[in-house]
Amino acid sequence: MGERSSLVYTVSDAAASIRENPVTVALSAVTVGFSLAIFTLFLIVFINISGVVHQWGEKAHVIVYIKDNSVKGGISELKANLTLLGEVESVTYISKDDALKILNTGFEAGEGLLEGLKENPLPASFEIKLKDSFRDPKLISNFAEKVGSYRWVEEVQFGGEWVEKFAELISFVKLTAVILGTFLIVATLFIISNTIRLTVYARREEIEVMRLVGASNTYIKAPFVIEGVTSGIVGGLIAYVLIYLGIHFLGSQIPSYFELDFQSTLSAPFLLLCLILSGVLLGAIGALVSLGKFLKV
């Protein structure tokens, strides 16, 4: 007599049950598979888009234009003030002449574009590189606003306010993802627990007999939980295949300027592991939920 025999019987009972009800297990597995696939694809797209927004934020330099009438001491003072700021990694001074040179190299074909003018109309400026942790659209915007109020500052420009708008959109998408994800998980649990409930119902006489001969609740529940977990594992594998196909399809449809790289978002073994573990969790919880009400002493 012992725990080992009980474990062997539990596993063999579960295996027999799966052999007898392959459709039930398959149905649960497909449900888990699709739910996990939709959820994960959503997550992958989301992680990638967030990443792109972050990259765009990184590229955004902050340029502080200096008032033309600034005195030399004022410029030095401004530079000192800017350098002292916690967000700033480096400050480069671009004089009016430098600005003109840069403009001319930028427009090779239009050399002499500004030749007709009596004086250089371009303002001097500071090009500011921010520290890594501050390269976020929202933080850049705050920084620009702060610096804009400094003395001798004419105007502050940063790489596109639309990045900020896009970031707001991403926040909205994030919220939508959380809500949709919750719905999907609940729906999956509901379907799994009901599929297992059907099996429990079909085997209610057997369960009753088991109780009458002195089977513990654990002994009765375990094969159903194993069945749920098996559905979860198979579901995880199905999800992996679906995600693989989905990424290939999506990958060919992405506009190149998005610079998305779905392949490298999650490593394949890690993704597979996560999917199988999620499937196992869903299967086990689904089984326990459906058994909870069914079993009494």
Binding site: E205, L212, G214, S216
Partner: protein, 222 residues
């Protein structure tokens, strides 16, 4: 030993199934519980088996107060009891062997010992040649013997039988009762609920008579 003190059972819907039942059944005794339908026989057996909880009173089983045993330990008590039902309660998708083996499997008995004990008990109820049959392919008498084999395979301290001969013809009924009598001689307490008076008369044993949920005669040990 089983002792019942002032046991009452009232079902939802105000049906009074048992009223102030006081009983003492010794180890190894063979007892008939009799009475008409609805007299409370089945309720009494269910309470002894732990599948019904009395509304009031105490049940002492081998010195332990049954009602103070935590629910998770009820299966452990059932493993010391065998229960034979009128409707057999066999699993029709499993073979005779597997039905009987189930009682040992839930206890965690190893496969080799299960094989030995199941074959032995099937020989005892003369069903060894039916080991691989499914219950529904057997006659009523054979099915009842499978149920009895399942109850006996774990050498229970107590064997409860609720109308075990209700579905059997008189000749088979006598055979089943003789089997029970033999079991009791080997030290198992046997409690049989039946309203078959011809059987009761044939076997000289203690008879506890119920009427409308009350004990009207507690009988004497044979």
């Amino acid at each position: 030993m089983i002792q019942l003190y002032h046991v009452h059972k009232k079902y939802d819907g105000a049906v009074q199934a048992l009223t102030d039942v006081n009983l003492k059944i010794e180890k190894g005794e063979f007892v008939f519980i009799t009475g008409s339908s609805g007299a409370g026989k089945s309720t009494l057996l269910k309470i002894m088996f732990g599948s019904e909880v009395p509304s009031d009173g105490h049940i002492i089983l081998d010195g332990r107060n049954y009602l103070k045993i935590p629910p998770e330990q009820i299966p452990l008590i059932r493993r010391r009891m065998g229960f034979v039902f009128q409707d057999f309660k066999l699993i029709n998708t499993k073979s005779v062997f597997d039905n009987v083996a189930l009682a040992l499997k839930v206890m965690g008995v190893g496969p080799a010992l299960i094989k030995k004990r199941v074959n032995k008990v099937l020989a005892y109820v003369q069903l060894q040649h039916r080991a691989n049959f499914k219950p529904l392919t057997l006659s009523g008498g054979e099915q009842q013997r499978v149920a009895i084999a399942r109850a006996l395979v774990k050498d229970p301290a107590i064997l409860l039988a609720d109308e075990p001969t209700g579905n059997l013809d008189p000749e088979l009924a006598v055979q089943v009762m003789e089997l029970f009598k033999e079991v009791s001689l080997r030290g198992t307490t046997v409690i049989v609920a039946t309203h078959d008076h011809s059987l009761i008369q044939r076997f000289n044993s203690r008879v506890i008579e119920f009427s409308e949920g009350k004990v009207i005669s507690a009988g004497e040990s044979a």
